[in-house]
């Protein structure tokens, strides 16, 4: 299987001299094509730092991050913009669509930025919106459509440029349970049916149960890893809770 993301000896240190704080302390892992990887951990464990570095928004102190064969650590700012545009897709929890643009224009944005011809843009938008069942609302504005439709539109935008990897940062954080479910099934859908690789950071065990594999991090290190395998989602959910109990129990002991 093709390696999409390879992280080696990743370290991120905040602060200067005496007063240092290690947000990431030697993290190693790989993500392969078609995976749906979850990253979980308590607050302050380093989840967001990790995601920011993979998103190319932040730089690590040391270590390497190879996405689709390219090491992003040494890239220049403009190269990074281009890289984000071509290789990464994002699903945000909020402000995920631009209010002033129609759904179609929103979805087309990454391709427009990459200077793709209009014919190609049109073709891709049709294809993606067919898959996500949002063809009817393409000419509407975000405020005219339902929450679930908005999420599907956002997902469509994330995958339209055919990115190597889709990053989702706490995508269900601000959503009610129904909307969470729609979003998660959308992610699952694009992962399974369109073979898109997804990396999701979350602290919500319900959301995590949609993943195929979960990494737990704590104090900047990988603490545990579980794979869904042939399990039912419900069973996987209880396994996640078990690991979390250990994680939090640990914290409980310290306190």
């Amino acid at each position: 299987m093709k390696n999409i993301l390879k992280i080696e000896k990743l370290e991120k240190i905040y602060g200067l001299r005496g007063n240092v704080y290690k947000a990431l302390d030697g993290v190693n892992f790989d993500v392969y094509e078609g995976e749906f990887l979850g990253i979980m951990g308590p607050s302050g464990a380093g989840k967001s730092t990790l995601l920011n570095i993979i998103s190319t928004i932040d730089k690590p102190t040391s270590g390497s991050v190879v996405i689709n064969g390219q090491n992003i650590v040494n890239m220049k700012k403009n190269e990074l913009s281009k890289f984000r545009r071509d290789k990464l897709g994002f699903v945000f929890q909020e402000y995920n669509l631009l209010d002033t643009l129609t759904v179609k224009e929103n979805i087309a944005l990454p391709l427009s930025l990459a200077n793709v011809s209009y014919r190609e843009i049109n073709r891709r938008v049709k294809e993606v919106s067919n898959n996500l069942e949002i063809v009817d609302i393409l000419d509407k504005f975000p405020y005219e459509i339902s929450g679930g439709q908005r999420q599907r539109a956002a997902a469509a935008r994330a995958i339209i440029a055919d990115p190597a990897l889709i990053l989702a940062d706490e995508p269900t954080g601000a959503l009610d349970s129904r909307s969470s479910e729609t979003l998660l099934s959308t992610l699952k859908n694009i992962n399974e049916n369109m073979n898109v690789t997804v990396l999701m950071v979350t602290h919500d065990p319900f959301a995590a149960s949609y993943c195929k594999r979960i990494l737990f991090i704590k104090d900047g290190r990988i603490f545990n890893e579980i794979v869904k395998g042939e399990d039912e989602r419900k069973k996987f959910f209880t396994r996640i809770l078990d690991v979390l109990a250990v994680l939090e129990g640990d914290i409980g002991n310290v306190i």
Binding site: S81, F90, F92, L98, D99, T100, L109, L113, N115
Partner: protein, 661 residues
């Protein structure tokens, strides 16, 4: 603690609100400069006795209008600042600061900022008023013997009072505002979605077409009015109303129309960030259209006033000498001989060595209409002014008297033979002269009673006498026809010409004599002084109003754009995540600024093409000129100031969106 906060806030504010402070300081400096004009050394002599009073009352009146403009600006800017600080204020309240304390804090900040701007503004104002004073003295040909430092205490105090009141009102308004704040809105302020308006295509198209028609008609009407000299307060009001209506319509519909075109250029629309930029602009234009249209109308009016004011200045200059060709010019209807004798005595007694000429000529007001020059034709044109001229009566002057006048002015004598006569037009509109020329090419003969005369030519205009002597148009006839003048009203015209620097007792003595009789006396000295005075006043008023209006409007534009930048920050951040690099984002912000700032100016300049045409035609009718240079200068100054605001705003918006976390 509270004071520490206030101190810190103000220090930070100065960097953040450059535009606001800059404008405030500028407007205070301008306020001081114009209100201190009456204490300039230029008026300290006795040559311009009225100057002080006229200037101080004029500037005082204007200052009320200016305070309104500035008050509006301050109110507007305060809203912007609060918007920028929503989160910070919310945090204070969340941490338990009472609303009273927040109000107090904001109030103190406003007052301290106002006071600091006042001090800086006054200092700048004092410097600028020195330069102003030198320029005015040069203007009035007053020798600059020593450089006097002018500091006008009344103006310092007046500025303090005017701005103090304006600021207090605004501050009170602002602190009332705080009590309406809801904590949740303050903290979540950024999350609110942008409001926006979508317009129906059909409505937009209809309004667009209507406003284009309206503007076209207005331009046409303005041209018609100016060409036919039908200028009146009503017609000017109609033009302004029509123009404003069209401008509002254009701003309501124009952007949607342009957007429609851009959107139909599908390849362009879907490449790079174009869709985002055009949607963003459309949205901003649609929400701000009222303000933008208002500013456009204001720009147009300010520019027009600038241009016509400068043209008027030229007119005042050119009209001085033709109105008072001699040092003293006395018009009498009775007792002419006796009066002339008295003046002569005084002139010889006090200024024998200075007297160049002393002469008396007669003219007569005939009962012959000017339009009888073309007996079989009635004038059917539209010019009210021309119709008035033609309905006036000819004045008549005998050749010998006329020669006295032109001899005194060293213009070659004019010989008339047989029944030849001359036409003389002392002053008046171009149209009138052209009309006469044209009529003469058809018919030169004219009956005066039973005698027929033949008009040889129109004598070229010289500075030999005014409207009082020659009326609208005078016939110069050979002396042998003097019987014609019997029964007509006689106008005696006494002229004295002195060499320059004649003793000033003559002025006083002549004034004394003229007070005893029913007569009209024009003196060159007075005319010159009045002309300089009105010239300067026109310039002062235009500069004062124009510059304040300009900087206030530019500042409002700038603040509006910065508010917009705060609102759209999230959108730009999102674009950055989607892979738009910094260069593209900065470029987009700049483009946005350029369109937003310059479209109103462009529309205003376009209106002004027609306004200038209107003004030029109107001024020409009165022998005043509008030169291309004047128009260019006015537009140049305008553009210069505006560009500075644009540049600073653009820089700040980029800082807000790209650099600030």
């Amino acid at each position: 603690m509270l004071f520490k906060l206030i101190k810190r806030n103000i220090r930070r504010s100065f960097r953040d609100y450059v535009i606001y402070f800059g404008t405030l300081i500028l407007s205070i400096a301008i306020f001081y400069v114009f209100n201190s004009l009456d204490s300039q050394p230029a008026w300290s002599g006795d040559e311009y006795p009225q100057a002080k009073i006229v200037i101080s009352s004029l500037m005082g009146g204007l200052s009320f209008i200016i305070s309104f403009i500035v008050g509006f600006l301050i109110l507007y800017a305060n809203n912007y600042i609060i918007k920028r600080r929503k989160k910070e204020i919310g945090l204070y309240m969340l941490l338990g600061m009472s609303q009273k304390k927040v109000s107090f804090m904001l109030l103190s900040e406003t007052i301290i900022i106002g006071f600091l701007s006042y001090v800086v503004g006054i200092i700048i104002g004092i410097f600028v008023s020195q330069i102003f004073s030198l320029i005015t003295m040069k203007f009035f040909d007053i020798a600059i013997n020593k450089i006097e430092f002018v500091l006008s205490y009344p103006a310092v105090i007046k500025t303090l009072i005017f701005y103090g009141i304006t600021f207090s009102l605004v501050a009170v308004f602002g602190s009332f505002g705080v009590s309406r704040f809801k904590l949740i809105d303050l903290l979540m302020g950024e999350r609110k979605n942008e409001e926006f308006k979508i317009r129906k295509k059909a409505v937009v198209a209809i309004i667009f077409v209507l406003s284009c028609i309206d503007l076209f008609l207005t331009y046409y009407f303005a041209d018609y009015v100016a060409s036919r000299l039908l200028v009146s307060p009503q017609s000017i009001f109609a033009i302004i109303f029509g123009g404003s209506l069209g401008t509002y319509g254009l701003f309501y519909s124009g952007f949607s129309m342009i957007f429609g075109v851009i959107k139909s250029m599908i390849k362009f629309y879907f490449s790079k960030i174009n869709a985002f930029l055009s949607r963003q602009l459309l949205n901003r234009f649609n929400t701000d259209m009222g303000m933008l249209a208002t500013l456009t109308v204001l720009f147009t009016l300010t520019l027009s006033v600038f241009i016509s004011g400068l043209g008027l200045k030229n007119y005042i200059e050119s009209s001085v000498e033709s109105n008072s060709p001699f040092s003293f010019n006395i018009t009498v209807y009775e007792n002419a001989e006796k009066i002339k004798q008295e003046f002569d005595e005084a002139a010889y007694r006090l200024g024998k060595d200075y007297l160049k000429d002393s002469l008396m000529v007669r003219s007569f007001r005939s009962d012959i209409r000017i339009k009888s020059i073309s007996p079989d034709k009635e004038y059917f044109g539209n010019s009210e002014l021309l119709r008035n001229y033609l309905n006036d009566n000819f004045y008549i002057m005998l050749q010998s008297d006329f020669n006295k006048l032109i001899k005194a002015k060293n213009i070659g004598e004019e010989e008339l033979t047989g029944n030849e006569a001359l036409l003389y037009v002392p002053d008046g509109s171009k149209d009138f002269k052209e009309y006469l020329e044209n009529e003469l090419s058809f018919n030169r003969k004219l009956f005066l009673g039973d005698s027929q005369i033949e008009i040889k030519k129109i004598f070229p205009q010289h500075k030999i006498g005014n409207f009082m002597v020659f009326g609208s148009c005078a016939l110069i006839i050979p002396d042998k026809f003097d019987y014609i003048t019997q029964g007509y009203k006689t106008i005696w015209n006494i002229d004295f010409n002195f060499k320059t620097g004649y003793p000033s007792e003559i002025d006083k003595e002549f004034q004394k004599i003229s007070d005893q009789y029913e007569l009209r006396m024009n003196t060159l000295k007075e005319a010159k002084a009045n002309a300089s005075m009105s010239r300067v006043l026109v310039i002062f008023v235009i500069l004062y109003l124009g510059i304040t209006l300009l900087i206030a409007s530019a500042a409002v534009m700038a603040l509006k754009e910065l508010t917009g930048a705060i609102d759209s920050k999230k959108n730009y951040q999102m674009l950055s995540k989607l892979g738009a690099d910094d260069r593209l984002i900065k470029g987009t912000i700049k483009k946005h600024m350029r369109f937003y700032f310059f479209i109103p100016l462009l529309v205003a300049f376009f209106h002004n093409i027609f306004a200038v045409n209107f003004i030029t035609k109107f001024l020409n009718a009165f022998n005043a000129q509008n030169t291309f240079l004047i128009t260019l200068i006015a537009m140049g100054v305008f553009l210069g100031v505006y560009l500075i605001y644009y540049y600073i705003t653009s820089r700040m918006a980029i800082r807000i969106i790209v650099k600030e976390e």
